[in-house]
Amino acid sequence: MSETIVSLRNVVKHYTRGKQDVPVLDGLNLDIAKGEFVALMGPSGSGKTTLLNLIGGLDSPTSGEITVAGERLDRMSSGQLARWRARHVGFVFQFYNLMPMLNALRNVELPLLLTHLSASQRAANALAALTLVGIADRAKHKPGELSGGQAQRVAIARALVADATLLVCDEPTGDLDRKSADEILHLLQILNREHGKTIVIVTHDPKAAEFGSRSLHMDKGALLDAGTLAA
């Protein structure tokens, strides 16, 4: 049996909006094995992004246990979580979230600023990541000079460059046309299959979910059925 990389036990998450307590996740349990490509689906407000944020160490649960890559995230302070994210997780967002004033190479280099690598090593690693996602020829271009698909490839390179164990992707194809979306999903599939990256994506797109090895459906803060898709 594959090693479990993500484990959630009785996870509860409430948000406070004004004086109101808003429950989002209610006693959620989930295991994700190392090397899985999990597609998380569900209607808006079902708690997908909240779950993704908890797995990625961006947020802490109200209660429950979250273990990712062997470490208990629910016990970490915000500073510890920041250091943990830098070592273990790569994030890919719907709107790419690249720094508009930095070129592609500099954007990809950003996570490496938190390491002890030299400037030349950082540049070499960033270029290698851009090469891996097939966009090395646009290394000197700024985000505004790239198409949506190209920008998302740069964002994926940024997520990969520090050799993250886990990639969490929030609607990575939500802002792309079908062709670009398929290319990005195909790229993620290669990273999963050939480079062993564990990937969790949130998507509304059933076609996107088909690229994953497992799809999970959420509604009203709970996981519904869990299915395994043919690889």
Binding site: A86, N97, M101, L113
Partner: protein, 388 residues
């Protein structure tokens, strides 16, 4: 240093705004450099104005009030006083009021005895000056400035003293010689000086005859100056013309302060400039950080700690303020010779510019801290939700 490219890129995110902010900060530091230099000059009048062995006696209440010439005998009799001379403010200009000339009536014998180490005059020209009651010795730099020549008439306009003969404020002297400062550091002090005979002045003026503006004394032992000052002032205590005797250096400062507390005015202007700058730059920084909320959230997502994000914003503020300050202070440094040519007789120091960098760092921290704290406290999840 590895964060510098990121900080630099952030700084130039809105080029126009950054350029205008840089310009306003640079102009403020140009003003700072110029005004702080002047302030220093007024607070620290050149130690070379006169030596430590010289005292100056003025009216106790104001240097604009005159003293009786007869006091000179009493002052000269004070033990420890080697020489006494007397002078009066003539307030002259050449042709136009902007052409200030420090024309001063002197008693030739005592004045050159007291200031014997300060002037270089040829023997022939000194003799010509002694022998000509309407003669004037003019600083060679002033001669050059106005294109005067020895042998020419020198018409000067006094702002105070009318002539007894015709009630006119115009006085005419014969240029009989030139002088230079023996000590090059005093050259600027003497660069607008014209010396002429006290007898001519005293006899020619329509009022104030027998009165002088102030006395200057040289003491035998400089360490006795405080005691001698007290003795001189004691001579005239409770008289209609009480005196105030002080070292020449202090007198120079109080003389400058006749036009008001220059230092206070300069510091008030600087205070107003920096108070305005604080809000202007602070607002710009705050706006800049507010616009970049999603980007800062992304940095945190990538693993940048709260402290690192705080440091990046403070670093940006430092880069902005120090860069602009260097430009402004360099410009003020370059302007010193120009200011000096306008304010002749005031020694200007270059020492205030480095201190300006300290002010720039303080300003950067003050304006950078509020937006940096905001960035540090940013909740990643909320900020990313805004982006969505």
């Amino acid at each position: 240093m590895k964060y510098l490219p990121l900080i630099w890129a952030n700084l130039w995110r809105k080029k126009t705004r950054t350029i205008f902010t840089l310009l306003s900060v640079a102009v403020a530091f140009l003003l700072y450099g110029a005004l702080a230099t002047l302030d220093y000059a007024f607070e620290n009048p050149s130690a070379g104005v006169t030596g430590v062995d010289k005292l100056i006696t003025t009216n106790k209440f104001s240097i604009t009030l005159l003293l009786p010439f007869s006091d000179v005998q009493d002052i000269a009799a004070v033990p420890g006083v080697a020489v006494v001379t007397w002078l009066t403010w003539f307030g002259a200009y050449y042709q136009e009021s902007k052409n200030f000339v420090f024309a001063v009536p002197i008693d030739t014998a005592t004045y050159f005895d007291l200031h014997k180490d300060e002037f270089v005059v040829s023997d022939a020209q000194m003799a010509a000056f002694r022998n000509n009651r309407s003669g004037a010795l003019v600083n060679s730099a002033l001669m050059k400035k106005f294109g005067w020549h020895v042998g020419e008439k020198l018409p000067l306009h006094s702002t105070i003293w009318t002539q007894k003969s015709d009630g006119s404020l115009n006085w005419t002297f014969d240029i009989v010689g030139t002088f230079d400062a023996k000590d090059p550091t005093q050259a600027s002090q003497q660069s607008s000086t014209v010396l002429f005979h006290y007898e001519l002045f005293d006899e020619g003026r329509s009022f104030g005859k027998g009165q002088v503006g102030w006395f200057e004394e040289r003491v035998v032992d400089p360490s006795q100056s405080p005691q001698i000052s007290q003795k001189i002032d004691a001579l005239f205590a409770n008289s209609p013309n009480e005196t105030k005797t002080q070292p020449a250096k202090d007198f120079a400062m109080s003389f400058l302060k006749q036009i008001g507390d220059v230092g206070f005015v300069l510091r008030a202007i600087l205070g107003a400039v920096f108070f305005t700058l604080l809000f202007l730059t602070g607002n710009t920084m705050m706006q800049s950080v507010r616009e970049r909320t999603p980007e800062l959230a992304v940095l945190k997502t990538l693993g940048f700690s709260d402290a690192k994000v705080l440091g990046l914003v403070i670093g940006e503020s430092l880069l902005l303020c120090v860069l602009a300050a260097v430009v402004g202070l360099a410009a003020s440094y370059a302007l010193i010779p120009v200011v000096h040519s306008v304010l002749q007789g005031v020694d200007l120091s270059h020492g205030e510019q480095p201190a300006g960098l300290g002010v720039a760092v303080l300003l950067a921290i003050l304006v950078g801290t509020p937006p940096a704290l905001r960035a540090m406290r940013l909740n990643v999840v909320d900020a990313l939700m805004e982006k969505r």
